[in-house]
Symmetry: C2
Subunit: 161 residues, 2 copies
């Protein structure tokens, strides 16, 4: 492996801070919840298991994906706070709410990423214990997040193009 | 719902044909398999369940997502044909192969979509019976595909921006 490729394995800190801020801001505004963010860690050990994930793709000057993943109980509480009422996890309203939350987190971080980045519409995955992978050559950092609704993670796998 | 929104619920045929061609071409070239594509149908009834999905996002002049979803047995046979040997579905090589297959299908269709479209890197979801949703305002058409390795589907949820 070349030195150049080796270097790409570490995500740039300037690409992380905007997400720390946007997660806190979106959860505070949309779900009236304070978010504690733990020490970010690299995702070298393979994928983690999730019940509910929102995925947003980045293209342009910044490429990769950002995944916001929740245990089902946490997602249900966040969606209820976000929507103002309980929402059936099987319904399209539930997936729409998780997608919108993911979209707001990525959208609030986007202007701070230091380049023209395009973001895609969100995809929402539901399914107990699913895993989300991306190409091995894109570094991935995990932000562990904690709220009164429970814990969730934000997987940031982006790099400048 | 406005007439304009109603219209957006139907996907443009010009955005479908490139995927019919690219699926056939990529499977023939990379897995030496002929693909029979059935009559496309709209995905109004809610999400289908999958074991293994590759997701690519589109942004720019064409926005949305394309998802290639397989039962695990079909994915395993296709990856074996693609890689030239059996690959453990738990390994990162397996996810990389599914991601690359998805990337090739989207990449081969992209120039035919009639506008500047950017595609993201692929995300790969593994997990028995997961579902993939996208925002309700983007129309989704499902291409049912059949090969000697089994059946799979391509969900095309894109529209011109």
């Amino acid at each position: 492996m070349s030195v150049h490729q080796e270097k790409k394995k570490e995500i740039e800190p300037a690409l992380i801070v905007p997400f720390v801020q946007s997660v806190r801001k979106v959860l505070a505004t949309m779900a009236q919840m304070e978010t504690t963010i733990g020490r970010p860690y690299g995702k070298q050990k393979g994928p983690s298991e999730h019940d509910c994930s929102g995925i947003i793709g980045f293209s342009g000057k910044v490429i990769g994906t950002v995944v916001v993943s929740f245990p089902l109980a946490t997602a249900s509480k966040l969606v209820a706070a976000f929507a103002g009422d309980e929402v059936d996890p099987q319904s399209s309203d539930f997936a729409d709410a998780i997608g919108e939350l993911t979209n707001m987190i990525a959208g609030a971080a986007k202007p701070q990423l230091g380049g023209d980045a395009n973001i895609t519409v969100p995809s929402v995955i539901m399914g107990r214990g699913h895993t989300v992978s991306r190409p091995s050559d894109i570094p991935c950092l995990v932000l562990p997040c904690s709220t009164v609704a429970g814990e969730f993670i934000v997987e940031i796998a982006i790099r400048t193009a």
